[in-house]
């Protein structure tokens, strides 16, 4: 009970209050713990833990292969790639210098010396530095396997964001309409094409959309047609009086309008969320430190 329950709770309380109140105490060793060691220690623990995860991954994939579950062939791929990368990371330095040139293996480096007949000696990179040496095997793996995979997964999002905006961006109610309009205005106003759309086009469009809306609410055709014509004439008259200025009136000019939305109403919403999240995190953290919530260590 002591080891399983009280010590963990004590650890949370002790380190929680130390890092929290450490900010207010003027003492060098506490300050250096709060500023530096506390997070370093976490990083170290997390680095140990990652091996636990890797073992779990291997176990599940091996089980799939052994039990011949559907798609077990792919599990073989996963296991093989794991060991491939693990070997490169832990057992091969993968970077041997001859002067400024880098070779993946000792042999290739020696070969290169033989070919060029230079008097340089082969210099292996230090352990630890081998993962960040430009031209080394680990960096090669990073560039040709890791980077394209993660960058492409990231780029898939462009397609998904398109299909999501098509499918889910519906003006179901007033809130959804606001979300949609703000999104569209930002999307158009932020890119160069937005400044090619003059306020006048937007105003004509508004007259048009307004008429469609009226059409759904009023049934009087004369009234609708009348206001449509009046709207068109009004916009045209205003346009002629302002010489069709391409950036005025600013409220209908997308780049200006997006700037206003972005710095005013958007800011208000974003700030409220920020304060809310801040409060949520502070109170939740205090709950952990004071031991009011302990279920993350299996203590209901």
């Amino acid at each position: 009970m002591l080891l399983k329950r009280y010590i963990p709770i004590g650890i949370v309380a002790f380190f929680g209050s130390l890092t929290l109140f450490g900010w207010f105490i003027e003492n060098e060793s506490i300050e250096s713990f709060v500023n530096d060691d506390a997070t370093q220690w976490y990083d170290i623990i997390a680095s140990f833990a990652i091996f636990l995860g890797a073992l779990n991954l291997l176990k599940l994939q091996f089980l799939k292969v052994v039990k011949r579950q559907s798609g077990w062939q792919y599990s073989v791929v996963a296991i093989a790639s794991f060991f491939f990368a693990f070997t490169i990371g832990f057992f091969m330095k993968g970077a041997f210098f001859v002067g400024e040139d880098v070779y993946f293996t000792q042999k290739a480096a020696e070969q290169a010396i033989l070919v060029s007949g230079s008097s340089e000696a082969v210099r292996a990179v230090e352990w630890g530095a081998h993962i960040s040496t430009e031209g080394g095997l680990f960096k090669w793996m990073f560039d040709s396997i890791f980077t394209p995979l993660s960058a492409t997964m990231f780029a898939l999002l462009a397609f998904y964001v398109a299909s999501a905006s098509y499918r889910a961006f519906r003006a179901r109610n007033f809130e959804a309409t606001l979300l949609l309009l703000a999104g569209i205005i930002i999307m158009l106003g932020r890119v160069p094409v937005g400044s090619l759309i003059t306020p006048w086009m937007v105003m004509y469009l508004l007259v048009f959309v307004g008429t469609i809306f009226m059409n759904t609410y009023f049934k009087d055709r004369k009234l609708i047609f009348g206001s449509f014509v009046l709207g068109l004439l009004g916009v045209t008259a205003l346009g002629m009086s302002m010489d069709w200025n391409p950036t005025q009136p600013a409220i209908f000019f997308l780049p200006s309008l997006q700037e206003w939305i972005y710095t005013v109403p958007n800011l208000a919403g974003a700030r409220a969320i920020m304060i809310g999240i801040g409060l949520g995190i502070i109170v939740t953290s205090l709950r952990y430190i004071f031991g009011l919530e302990k279920s993350y260590i299996g203590d209901q």
Partner: protein, 292 residues
């Protein structure tokens, strides 16, 4: 806020302010307090005071505390029910960050409540995680949940399993799980980055009920548009209190509310003081005085 609380808090605040003031006045020979952080210190102690008082009150009786409904939380149980009917698993993603993010811890705690429901309904639960420490914590939390529901035999350690630490590799792996296992309900509770949309869109394409909860501001819009229910920002932190109905946790929500009111009143006072000084009635500006 009733009068009694108001009185307690005013007195408490006064005490804290005096205490902080005393600390700033300590002679130079006793260097223990960072005086330039006095305002922060006062605020922090005030929040702690409010929290401890609310916990004390809540332990006496929780009946008096009203909490408005949050639709997303009701939906959790419905989703578990629907998965049971369809005989398909529930997928729970506790975010992609480690336990050093408060959001992740909250996600693991909510997982405990979901696990209690799946234990009751005898539905299978699948929790892929991106961090090993989260894996261990989530296991502890699930095991305990199955134990309290009297179904320890249904708990299987591998229902919580590690995929990889890498953001997009994890996203690819979870996408694969969704495509091949076709869960009936997907829940995303934790800290998310760009992968949120990958999850939500794939979940959508397999027709799962989706419930999301996150404090990652940039990802909330995706969840709002693509998921059935979303707990956004502060709602997410209140979720575990709603689900557990434990007095200590409800007191936490109440604390958030009380502090919120205090902060709004502070904005009001600061505005007033600024207006008075701007209009030339006084030369005192609260914010400048506090050094904010």
């Amino acid at each position: 806020m009733n009068n009694k609380r108001m009185k307690t808090y005013s007195l408490g605040f006064l005490g804290i302010a005096l205490f902080t003031f005393a600390l700033t006045q300590l002679p130079d020979s006793v260097h223990i307090f960072q005086s330039d952080r006095a305002v922060m210190f006062t605020l922090l102690l005030t929040i702690i005071m409010v929290m401890l008082n609310e916990v004390k009150e809540a332990r006496i009786s929780t009946d008096s505390i009203f909490l408005r409904t949050i639709p997303g939380l009701k939906a959790v149980e419905e989703a578990v029910g629907r998965s049971t009917e369809m005989g398909r698993p529930i997928l729970y993603v506790p975010g992609i960050m480690d336990m050093n993010e408060v959001e992740t811890v909250a996600g693991v705690i909510i997982l405990g409540h979901v696990a209690q429901m799946t234990a009751q309904y005898e539905t299978s639960l699948d929790v892929p995680v991106a961090r090993s420490i989260v894996m261990q914590a989530a296991r502890e939390s699930c095991k305990e949940a199955y134990l309290t529901q009297g179904r320890p035999e249904m708990f299987n350690e591998d229902m919580v399993h590690y995929v990889t630490d890498d953001q997009f590799a994890y996203a690819a792996g979870v996408n694969g799980i969704m495509q091949r296992d076709k869960p009936a309900a997907c829940m995303y509770m934790g800290k998310f980055y760009a992968e949120s949309l990958l999850f939500a869109e794939t979940g959508n394409s397999i027709g799962a009920i989706q419930i999301a909860g996150t404090a990652s501001q940039a990802q909330i819009p995706f969840f709002v548009t693509a998921c059935d229910y979303t707990l956004m920002g502060e709602e997410y932190f209140a979720a575990s209190a709603y689900l557990s109905r434990k007095p200590e946790l409800i007191a936490g929500v109440k604390t958030q509310d009380t502090v919120k009111l205090m902060l709004i009143s502070f904005i009001g006072i600061a505005l007033l003081s600024r207006a008075l000084s701007d209009l030339g009635f006084t030369s005192f500006n609260l914010l400048t005085w506090l050094g904010l």
